[in-house]
């Protein structure tokens, strides 16, 4: 059993910086959990505390039910893949991979067998005699992963392992890591600042900001039902549009007013909002939920007439920007839905998927 | 909680275990002797007379009253001050001369040659200059006579003020490369496009130096001066070989004076008292220097 449970974790650094404040987290056994968030949110610190490279100021860390706060890294049975690969430059690839086993005094024959197996799994067998400086970035990353798998730890830790790779390699390695998890079903905790990595790899996402957890859950849950403005704006690319608006109407007939535009809220989603009529809200809608009007609006779609300001074609899709109540809004349209700037179009805004946010608490309503 | 194993204990205290040996060594052979010498300076420490009677400040008073002691401080100040100043100017000139030249053939050789004196024992440097200056064996007087046109018959090692000049020359010969190396490193760190911008703006050479180069290397200059001065006041080896402190006590530096008191006359308590006074003076100079020279950098 290798679930990781964190209770009340605080981490203070000398000099006053508090990297982690009161984090409670349950990481289920055998699942792929991603800690994601902007720089400085505490995700790396949290990971390093689990590894034992940092000592918790307060709180407990349990692995497999055992409290490991006082355990040294080597005694926690975890393996870690670092951002800069951290390969030992003075050792060959084979020795790099087998280093941990040798340090634990495993017999040579067994070390060699395990190294060979790990190399085979990662497709790096021809590289075993080479040295790190002779390898490419992707190869080095594989060796770093090999070093981790060879020990069959109960938890894998990844500290932004793909950040140093170029975009194409990153996509490739992402798939490999996902495949790795499918092959060796072990608890994996993965830190990244890239929300695409988070979305594609995770069984569970833990979104952190300023040392606390903003929201945690399955990727699609965070994406479709964000609880705060931060979560709504962090996940999804391009990011969600946010506009200042006022809530109008009464009872079940509510609408959002943005400048000149009035957008009706579907009755199904109007619960609990009536009390806030007349108040200011933040209206959030994802670019992919604004489309070109082709025919009459279905339920929940609200028509909007706009003048396109700027277009950014990417091949299959075109991102079109327009102004609404003084704010720039981006819509994701099909490539041939729009011609160019200055064009007047009718768009459909999917009000089933939009969110309303309280401007003060930043919570989604 | 079970009792930690040795391995766990040493991991926990790893950082302290690492510094312990060095700290113990320094405590044993630096701090302890200093404290011991402080005690010695307050008693009557003599090999012949048993029992070390407490004598209060008598040793200190004797040292302060000794005219030779006071003169040695003057000598130390003159010698170290002039030497360091000359070394700084010459070192800076050398560094400037070599800093911005592109790599030319032989540059590596010249650099290696220039730094050679730094690795020579000061007694050997003293010996070397004794050979050059000792009448009538040394060629210096001969060379000077040829260059200047008249007969030069200076007794470099035994005649004031020439013996001072001799000591300064030997020190400058050895330690100018010290300034050179540090200042060169500083000059090399100045980004070249600053100079290019200045050239385009039409700034003259002198102003470029004063308003661009100097501010950039000011911290380096301070570093070089402080380090070198703190070393220069300990002047001993060269005096031992070149002049033996003479004629008489004319070229006694503070260290040399304390050496004679302690190891030729064996007035041990006086020597320790004197060395403590010297130590305190050195610390004062350091504090003064560092604070004084820091101000222009801030301004």
């Amino acid at each position: 059993m290798a679930n990781v449970r964190i209770t009340g974790l605080h981490k203070r650094f000398p000099g006053g910086v508090v990297a982690v404040r009161g984090v409670d987290l349950d990481i289920p056994d055998k699942q792929f959990t991603v800690l994601v968030g902007p720089s400085g949110c505490g995700k790396s610190t949290l990971l390093r505390t689990i590894a034992g490279l940092e000592e918790a100021s307060e709180g407990t860390i349990e692995i497999g039910g055992e409290v490991v706060n006082d355990f040294r890294p080597r005694d926690r049975d975890v393996a870690m893949v670092f951002q800069d690969y951290a390969l030992y430059p003075h050792m060959s690839v084979a020795n790099n991979i087998g280093f941990g086993l040798k340090a634990r005094k495993m017999p040579k024959a067994e070390v060699d067998a395990r190294v060979a197996e790990a190399a085979r799994m990662l497709g790096i067998t021809p590289l075993l005699a080479r040295y790190p400086r002779q390898l490419s970035g992707g190869q080095r990353q594989r060796v770093a992963i090999g070093r981790a798998i060879v020990r069959s730890p109960r938890v894998f830790l990844f500290d932004e392992p793909l950040s140093n790779l170029d975009a194409q390699l990153r996509d490739e390695m992402r798939g490999e890591i996902k495949r790795l998890h499918q092959k060796i079903a072990t608890t994996m905790i993965y830190v990244t600042h890239d929300q695409i990595e988070a979305m594609t790899l995770a069984d569970k996402i833990v979104l952190m900001r300023d040392g606390v957890i903003e929201q945690q859950g399955a990727p699609l849950e965070l994406f479709e039902r964000p609880r705060t403005r931060f979560v709504a704006g962090f996940l999804g690319s391009p990011a969600m549009n946010f506009l200042r608006a006022t809530l109008e109407g009464s009872g079940q007939e509510l609408a959002v007013r943005c400048g000149e535009a009035v957008l009706r809220i579907p009755a199904a989603r109007a619960d609990g909002l009536a009390a806030r009529t007349g108040q200011e809200v933040v209206f959030g809608v994802r670019p992919e939920h604004i489309s070109r009007a082709h025919g009459p609006a279905r339920a929940g779609l609200v028509p909007l007439d706009v003048t396109i300001d700027l277009i950014q074609p990417t091949g299959s899709r075109t991102y079109a920007t327009f102004l609404l109540a003084g704010t720039e809004v981006m819509a994701e349209l099909q490539a041939h839905d729009v011609e160019g700037p200055g064009e007047r179009l009718q768009l459909h805004v999917d009000m089933n998927r939009a969110v309303l946010i309280d401007p003060e608490t930043e919570l989604v309503l | 909680m079970r009792r930690p194993t040795l391995s766990e204990w040493s991991d926990r205290n790893f950082r302290w275990l690492l510094v312990a040996p060095a700290v113990c060594l320094i405590l044993a052979l630096s701090i302890f002797p200093l404290l011991f010498s402080l005690w010695v300076s307050f008693v009557n420490y003599d090999f012949q007379i048993p029992g070390h009677a407490f004598v209060g400040l008598k040793n200190f008073e004797q040292v302060v009253a000794d005219p030779v002691a006071r003169w040695s401080l003057v000598v130390t100040a003159i010698l170290s001050g002039s030497s360091v100043l000359l070394e700084f100017v010459l070192g800076l000139a050398l560094a400037l001369a070599l800093a911005l030249t592109a790599t030319f053939r032989g540059r590596g050789v010249i650099m290696s040659l220039i730094i050679v004196p730094l690795f020579i024992s000061p007694v050997v440097v003293g010996q070397c200059w004794a050979l050059m200056l000792q009448r009538p064996f040394g060629p210096t007087n001969y060379i000077l006579s040829q260059l200047l046109g008249f007969d030069v018959t200076i007794s470099w090692l035994t005649q004031a003020p020439w013996n001072f000049i001799a000591l300064i020359v030997a020190d400058v010969w050895q330690w100018t490369p010290f300034m050179f190396v540090i200042l060169l490193a500083g000059l090399s760190a100045v980004p070249p496009h600053v100079y290019e911008a200045a050239e385009l703006d039409g700034v003259g050479a002198w102003q470029t130096f004063w308003y661009i180069t100097v501010p950039h290397i000011a911290p380096m200059m301070l570093l070089a001066l402080t380090f070198r001065l703190l070393d220069a006041v300990k002047l001993f080896d060269i005096i031992f070989v070149l002049t033996g402190g003479g004629p008489g006590t004319n070229t006694y530096s503070a260290s040399y004076y304390l050496y004679t008191i302690g190891f030729t006359q064996f007035h041990l308590s006086n020597a320790t008292a004197g060395s403590w006074i010297f130590l305190v003076l050195t610390v004062i100079v350091v504090i003064f220097l560092v604070r004084r020279l820091l101000k222009p950098a801030v301004a």
């Binding site: 590894a51 070093r147 | 010498s37 050398l94 302690g262």
Partner: protein, 280 residues
């Protein structure tokens, strides 16, 4: 001082530079040359006027006299033993301490400042009481006594050079080793130290040269038994020049190894001279 890209023939500034450097090199090399020549000049040539710049009959007699009759060879061997031992100890303990300071900031500013300040202690203040203490411990005029003293004497520079070196080594390798299964000691010894070898070698060479050229401590703490090479020069003082050949011979013997070593590590020179405060 402005960047001189030479499109035209030599500007006066460049001429001045070349002349200045040239004069300096002359100033530098003539005394060394004279010393070398004196070492191979027969004594009869000493008083010649004008001075003889290259003897007709060079001789190696001075070398044999200096090394054997005046025990220069013994001094050399002692220096070798003492300097090597002190260097090993200093490099070892210095590296340990530097690692702790660099990775854990042990003792904060106070500890590092304290170690640094040892470098500037006037030797006279320390050597007197050490002499007295050694008298009691019977360590005067022993190899061990001087080795310990030299170890402490070279520790600050060793610590500071290695501190600067470890600072610019990323710590992730050692952390990887910790997670992989190493204790702190194993991670230090198997990962950090092998990668720090160039720095350790440089620090060791500086320590060696410092011990090789040191005079004051050796003068006071040694006598007939453990005397080092620099102290042998005392034998040549005050003979009104009669022993100049021997003196220069021994000087040449003494400076050749330290110069050779020094040139080998000149890349690290700035770090060594400024105790790592400056990157070379």
């Amino acid at each position: 001082m402005a960047v001189a890209r030479r499109r035209r023939p030599l500007r006066p500034a460049t001429v001045a530079r070349i002349a200045f450097v040239g004069f300096w090199l002359l100033f530098l090399l003539i005394p060394l040359y004279w010393m070398f020549i004196t070492s191979i000049k027969p004594s009869s040539d000493y008083l010649a006027v004008p001075p003889i710049w290259f003897p007709d009959e060079p001789t190696l007699l001075h070398y044999t006299a200096a090394l054997y009759a005046y025990r220069g060879l013994d001094g050399l061997i002692n220096s070798l033993i003492i300097a090597t031992s002190a260097t090993i100890l200093s490099a070892f303990f210095g590296t340990l301490m530097a690692y702790s300071l660099a990775r854990f900031n042990t003792g904060g500013q106070h500890l590092s400042f304290w170690v640094l300040s040892q470098r500037f202690l006037p030797p006279i203040a320390v050597v007197l009481p050490i002499f007295l203490i050694y008298r009691v411990l019977r360590l005067n005029d022993t190899h061990a006594g001087l080795i310990i003293a030299y170890t402490v004497f070279t520790l600050p520079v060793s610590v500071w050079m290695m501190f600067a070196y470890f600072r610019q080594m990323p710590g992730s390798l050692e952390e990887a080793a910790l997670v992989d299964g190493c204790t702190r000691w194993q991670s230090f010894w198997r990962v950090a130290v092998p990668l720090a070898v160039p720095g350790i070698v440089a620090a060791a060479v500086f320590a060696f040269i410092a011990c090789w050229t040191e005079f004051f401590f050796a003068l006071i703490l040694t006598s007939r038994n453990a005397f080092t090479l620099p102290t042998v020069f005392r034998a040549f003082l005050g003979f009104q020049g009669a022993l100049y050949g021997e003196a220069s011979a021994l000087a040449i013997v003494s400076l050749v190894p330290s110069i050779a070593l020094g040139i080998l590590v000149q890349k690290h020179l700035v770090r060594g001279l400024t105790l790592g405060a400056v990157r070379g």
